[in-house]
Structure formats: structure tokens, C-alpha cells
């Protein structure tokens, strides 16, 4: 059995009043390598009744073009691959990122994606997930996370939909019909 020297802290909700505490200037901007293709990812967050979630905070964490996570900081002295954005009065978030590439971690190969964490009032524990930039689930069936989902319709909830050459829509359904796939935190 696993034993721990120290026992971990439990999560609590971010609540509705985080904006002043966690707001970052240009928090929704991920800086890529020179030559990286800029893309905008946007979408709507909805709850189990279909209502828009106007007080969620979304963070995205992107690997660099070489598939590793850069320690380089942006103009605001933050990690340049990291974005933080609150949903607006319509439940919409919008992140200016760049097209991610394949990543390899400990010999496991992953399809191009951004790592995502969602916090909100009503979420006592955050939701971890990913957004992929593949047209079809079948094109990224090799990806270990996609494979673990084991259901094409469910896996498709992690695909951003190409709306324009540099614009992708990815909606997040917290609960109910079309519920987004969420991941364990391990």
C-alpha cells in the first residue's frame, strides 16, 4: 500500500469572486515560437440545464513547438505557454494561442492539444481535460487519452471545431447531454 509522509490539502471551490484576485493582463494570450501558427480558441461553457456558466475560470497550458514546456516567460513575466481566462456574461472564453504540435512524454506520443483546467463556483474540485486540434477522432486514435476514452462520440467532445483558417470553437459541457470528457488528476 502507498504511504505518505504528509497528507495532501483538499480542493475548495474558486467561488464567484475570483476575478480581482486572479485577473491577469492579457491572461488569454499564449506566446508561441517564432513561426508558430496563431490560432484563436473560443467557446461557451454550459451547465447540466443548458445554462451558460458566466463565472468559470479556464487555464490552458501549451507545450512549445519542440513538444516540451518552456520556462521562457512572456512580456508579463508569466510562463509564455500558459493562459488564464474567465468566461464572460455570455459564458464565453476566448484564448489567443498557436497551433500545438505532437508531444512525446516518457515515450508516449500525444496528438496536438492544449491542457485545460476549469474552475467555477459549484465545482468543489477542478476539472482537468484537454482540447485537441484534429478533424476527426479516428485521426488521433493513437493518442493514449483518446484511446482510454474508448468511445468515439465521447472522444469527440475534446475536439475543437475549425470555424475559420485560424479559429477553432470548443464548447465545454459540464454535465448532461454531450458532457465533455474530464480526466483524472494523475
Amino acid at each position: 500500500m502507498t504511504t505518505y509522509k504528509n497528507e495532501g490539502i483538499a480542493s475548495q471551490t474558486i467561488g464567484p469572486f475570483f476575478h480581482n484576485g486572479l485577473k491577469w493582463e492579457q491572461g488569454n494570450r499564449i506566446v508561441g515560437d517564432a513561426g508558430a501558427v496563431a490560432v484563436t480558441v473560443y467557446g461557451k461553457v454550459r451547465d447540466g440545464a443548458g445554462a451558460v456558466v458566466t463565472d468559470a475560470m479556464i487555464e490552458m497550458w501549451a507545450a512549445d513547438g519542440d513538444g516540451t514546456f518552456s520556462e521562457t516567460v512572456n512580456a508579463q513575466q508569466r510562463p509564455r505557454g500558459f493562459a488564464r481566462i474567465a468566461t464572460d456574461a455570455e459564458g464565453v472564453y476566448r484564448v489567443h494561442a498557436f497551433m500545438p504540435t505532437h508531444t512525446s512524454i516518457d515515450g508516449e506520443r500525444f496528438a496536438p492539444h492544449l491542457n485545460v483546467v476549469i474552475f467555477a463556483r459549484g465545482l468543489l474540485t477542478p476539472l482537468f481535460t484537454r482540447v485537441y486540434f484534429a478533424p476527426l477522432v479516428s485521426t488521433i486514435a493513437f493518442d493514449p487519452i483518446i484511446a482510454a476514452i474508448g468511445d468515439e462520440a465521447r472522444a469527440a467532445t475534446l475536439l475543437a471545431v475549425k470555424i475559420a483558417p485560424n479559429a477553432y470553437q470548443w464548447d465545454i459541457q459540464l454535465q448532461g447531454d454531450g458532457e465533455t470528457v474530464f480526466l483524472t488528476r494523475d
Partner: protein
Amino acid sequence: MSRFDPAYIFPDYRSTTLRGPKLALVSAGGIMAKLPAPKFSAAFIKDKDADLTVHGRSTPLGERMVLHGRVTDEAGQPVRDSLIEIWQANASGRYNHPSDNHDAPLDPNFLGAGKTLTDSDGNYRFVTIRPGAYPWKNHKFAWRPAHIHISLFGDVYAQRTITQMYFPRDPMLAIDPIFNGIPDAGARERLICTMDLEAGIEEVMTGYRFDIVLSGAKSTVFGL
């Protein structure tokens, strides 16, 4: 999720019922512990960011306090040079936030947000005021116990945590569904700081200690 985290749906806290997912989480297969956490440059922290009491024309109302502690992983190793952000209500229980319509006074000298990095041994220190309790609409006579929101990044992505710190012997803890959403009594206790007056400043401000253990760094777990 980590073994001490609350369930996604905890009906006593009404907002969870439509926001928590109903389907089982899919295993990330250990990848989250292999991704580094975002690291922030020391230049990201400005001079007065760790002192929430010096952003007005005079000192905010309320009990000024030092909040300090150490951030470690489950093996007891310090989490170094890692960003901690806090935000909170003022001494009257009102947030400096446009959506907070609690009929309690705003304090022009208190904005309620701070940030700092842990030092090379995992220690952090803020100066703030003790926040007030405030009512919310979850149920009849619902009041949130006084709390400070804390956001932490840790060393690996799996350690990303947002939580709330509470104060000792607060009778409102017993009626708070957010606090009681944590199933394990020991884990609830660990969200309560301890009085540590000698960490304060004599005749000026009180002191409280809040140590934080971030779970999720697999390599540091004993017995694997």
C-alpha cells in the same frame, strides 16, 4: 482527482448539482504528474504584492495579520519558487467585486488580492486582514465562515490547486456545505490555520500559520 478532494456533486452545496459532471472521469494514465507546472519569474511579483494592507491611503479596517506557512509535497520536500495567489473579503465580509451585493461596507483601503512566490525552502508570507463572514443564498441563514482563497501551482501540473483557508474554532464551519463537502474529517481540519502570534508583529498584528501539502507528485510518494 486527489483522494481528499470533494465529490463533484454534493447536493448540500446547491450549485454543484448542475455543474458537476455525472459521467466517470477518464484516467489520464499518470501523465499529469509528468508535466511540469507553470513556473513564474521572480519579476512577476511586484514590491507590495504580498502585503494586502498597503494599497490604499491608509490601513484597512480589521484585524491585521501575518499569514505564513510552508508548501511541501507528500514526501515532505519543499515546493520552491512557486506562485501562491490569495484573494478574500474585507473585514466586513464584502469582496471588492462588482457581483458582490452583500449589504456590508466596502473598504477603500482594501482590495483583497495578493501574490508571492515560495522561497527556496517552500516558505511564504503575506500581510493581510482577517476577513469577515458573509451571507449567501445556498440555504436559509447560510453564512460562509471567514476564509481566504488560495491558489497554488506546485512543481507538476497534477498539483494545481485552489482551496480555502479557514480560522480556528469558527462555529460557522459546522453549517458550511463547501467546507463539509470534503468527506474526510482530517482533510477538513487541514484547511484550518493555527494561531501563531509570534509570527505576527507585537502590538501591531496577529499571526497565523497555514502549512500546505500538495498531492499529485508521483515520484515523491513513498512505497511506489
